[in-house]
């Protein structure tokens, strides 16, 4: 989104290096992410795009051998700083994973979990409202409103992924990270999710990792191309796809490797 023609930067990554043990996975990544836009991260398998995404909500902390260096500023606050509280950070930065991973609980409990642990609802009615609006925003309400108290794992794959999106937006995050959210879904479910992403960007900043260049072209405004741990090129999706500066980008986009 541009205010008075100036890009609003939500996330600013500076000189990010990531190591798995002795192996370096990301080199010197510098990337600005615009507010209320969809940024796609593309690149061949193992290029580090998911690793970078997981830096943004510090999910790499879970991996013992993983070390992250450099600055990642979100709202001008460095999340790699010691003073950053991971729980508060993840409340602001939601995440949707590659494989739908609803909790093995009811649809309702899946959505209400986040608001419950963050104390966002004072009463049952408020919680009901949060559940309803989250499901509506995820375009799932009509399909599950009669089965709110049935297991979320009983839904179809596409529904499960939208349930996970609804779960992510239930705590009103500023940023939503999506790690190949459609790779386990069929084309129809994929189309639904893509439509949803377009809708969600009005309220959230979205970063999506995808294998499908067509998907990146369809849903994103900005694109970053990763290769072997380096950010080769980033810019507006239009430019990357039509007129990339780097020959590697050109080769990847035209399908010559990857």
């Amino acid at each position: 989104m541009r205010k008075n023609g100036v890009k609003m930067i939500k996330i600013k990554a500076k000189d990010v290096d990531v190591f798995y043990g002795k192996k370096q996975a990301l080199y010197n990544i510098g990337l600005d992410i615009e507010e209320n836009q969809v940024t796609a991260l593309i690149g061949p398998s193992g290029c580090g795009k998911s690793t970078f995404l997981r830096c943004l909500n510090r999910m790499n902390d879970v991996i013992d051998i993983c070390r992250v260096k450099g600055e990642i500023l979100i709202n001008d606050f460095n999340i790699n700083d010691k003073s950053c509280d991971v729980v508060r950070l993840r409340e602001k930065i939601g995440m949707v994973f590659q494989k739908p991973n609803p909790f093995p609980k009811t649809v309702y409990e899946n959505i209400s979990y986040g608001p419950t642990i963050h104390g966002m609802a004072q009463s049952k009615q408020e919680m009901d409202e949060i559940v309803e609006t989250s499901l509506k925003k995820a375009a799932l309400w009509e399909e599950v409103k009669d089965r709110l108290h049935e297991p979320g794992t009983g839904l179809s794959g596409g529904q499960q992924q939208r349930l996970c999106i609804a779960r992510a937006i239930s705590v009103r995050p500023e940023v939503i990270l999506m790690d190949e959210p459609c790779s386990a879904l069929d084309p129809i479910a994929t189309a639904q999710i893509e439509e949803l992403i377009d809708e969600l960007k009005k309220e959230h900043t979205i970063i999506i990792v995808t294998h499908s260049m067509a998907q990146a072209a369809r849903v994103s405004q900005n694109t970053g191309f990763f290769h072997l741990g380096h950010l080769i090129e980033h810019g507006s999706t239009d430019k990357i796809f039509k007129n990339p500066d780097n020959t590697k980008t050109q080769d990847y986009i035209t399908g010559r490797f990857g």
Binding site: M59, D64, M95, K99, P104, Y113, I117, R167, V171
Partner: protein
């Protein structure tokens, strides 16, 4: 298809058939052994669930009981029943001499006095009248009646005399010998007399031991497993702990018995022969089993669930307690039950901490001395009397039944919760 290829294919099929045959014969062997074992136990043990009673007329003579005609409850409690009991037995043969009278007395258990007393306590109006009373037959006659006793042995090699057999046969002919379900096997504690021995003490001892074991081993093991799996850093030290937990699971049980003896009894002076000490000793043994089962089922919880919770902003503790642990519980519980079933069948450590002592009272708490079912089997198997042979098998049947129920329970827990969410 050329000939070579066809030969090769046939060879592969033959190998497969051969392998299948090996597998089937292995299964057959296993089933055969199991069947023989079960058949042996049942054929020896089933008769222990029946008990032989002699029906003897008793004259409740007030004078002989040294009470008046209308006695109070206390009078009846304190009355002398020995004489009328003795007389009732002696009266089975009017012409018996003193030695024979003595033999007649030994045809029933030494509880005969008490059995007569119970009869009149239940029905005080019997005073002055004669009534036929059921008296427990001695274990040897019990075995004779069940057909387990070789009657054709020379008399000096038998514990039953010819005279006793003659009177017994007369009673049988008159229909005065009856076989009824052996309730006392379940309600009496152990006894030196086979006909009066029961499993109540060892059964309660086992239950108390298992409860103590569960209350100690389960929380400790589950907390250890959760910490190791979800919180502890993976380094040399935790690897070392893991290896040693596995080692602990392989330690022979008798070593734990020595530990119980040396530490619990010698240093802490806990009461000897009690389910408390037995349970603590067994819990040391069960601990690694539960830790291993709990860790395995924590590992089996998909990492995607943990990631989902963490990404929602749950703390590590919340992720563990809200998601991982509840999902791992079915596996942990069935592992726990299997660990307890192992503990239930354990004998050696209990012998070392003194639960092998002869206990003829039923324990009311884990602090009372008791035996346990497997130790009871051991005690009875050591006894010389023929009457204990069937008791050993019967006790094994009870123990096996107990174990089967526990394992079934473990299976049910596992299946029920697996179905629910997959």
């Amino acid at each position: 298809m050329n000939k070579n290829k066809e030969q090769l294919l046939n060879k592969r099929y033959r190998a497969e058939r051969r392998f299948r045959l090996y597998g089937q014969s292995a299964i057959f062997m296993a089933l055969l052994f199991l069947t023989i074992f079960i058949f042996k136990i049942f054929s020896t043990g089933y008769s222990a669930f029946q008990k032989t009673w002699l029906i003897v007329p008793v004259n409740f003579d007030a004078e002989m009981m040294m009470i008046d005609q209308n006695p109070s409850k206390e009078d009846l409690q304190d009355a002398d029943y020995y004489d009328i009991a003795l007389k009732s037995m002696a009266d089975l043969d009017q012409n018996a001499n003193d030695d024979q009278k003595n033999q007649l007395k030994r045809m029933v258990s030494y509880f005969f006095e008490k059995e007569i007393k119970n009869e009149i306590l239940n029905n005080p109006s019997l005073i002055g009248k004669t009534k036929e009373v059921y008296l427990t037959a001695s274990d040897d006659l019990d075995q004779v009646f069940k057909g387990n006793y070789p009657r054709d042995l020379p008399e000096d090699q038998r514990r039953v005399s010819d005279y006793q057999l003659k009177i017994f046969d007369q009673l049988v002919a008159k229909g005065k010998v009856e076989s009824k379900f052996n309730i006392s096997f379940f309600t009496y504690a152990d006894s030196r007399e086979a006909e009066l021995a029961g499993i109540a003490s060892s059964f309660m001892g086992s239950i108390f031991s298992i409860l103590v074991c569960l209350m100690i081993a389960f929380p400790v093991a589950v907390l250890a497993a959760i910490y190791l799996e979800e919180f502890a850093p993976k380094n040399r030290f935790t690897d070392f702990i893991e290896v040693n937990i596995n080692n602990l699971a392989a330690v022979p049980s008798i070593v734990f018995g020595l530990l119980g003896l040396g530490v619990l009894l010698a240093i802490f002076h806990l009461p000897r022969s009690t389910p408390l000490v037995g349970g603590i000793t067994l819990s040391l043994m069960t601990l690694p089993t539960i830790i291993i089962a709990a860790r395995a089922s924590l590992k089996a919880v998909p990492p995607s669930i943990r990631e989902a919770a963490l990404a929602m902003g749950a703390s590590r503790m919340q992720t563990t307690m809200h998601h991982t642990v509840p999902l791992s519980m079915p596996g942990t519980l069935s592992g726990t039950i299997i660990g307890l079933a192992q503990a239930l069948g354990e004998t050696a450590p209990l012998i070392l901490i003194g639960m092998v002592a002869f206990v003829n009272t039923i324990p009311g708490s884990p602090m009372d001395p008791a035996a346990s079912l497997p130790v009871q089997i051991y005690i009875w198997a050591e006894s010389a009397e023929r009457g204990f042979v069937e008791k050993v098998s019967a006790c094994i049947m009870v123990l096996l039944g107990f174990l089967i129920i526990m394992n079934l329970f473990a299976q049910i827990i596992r299946h029920k919760f697996e179905k629910k969410w997959s």
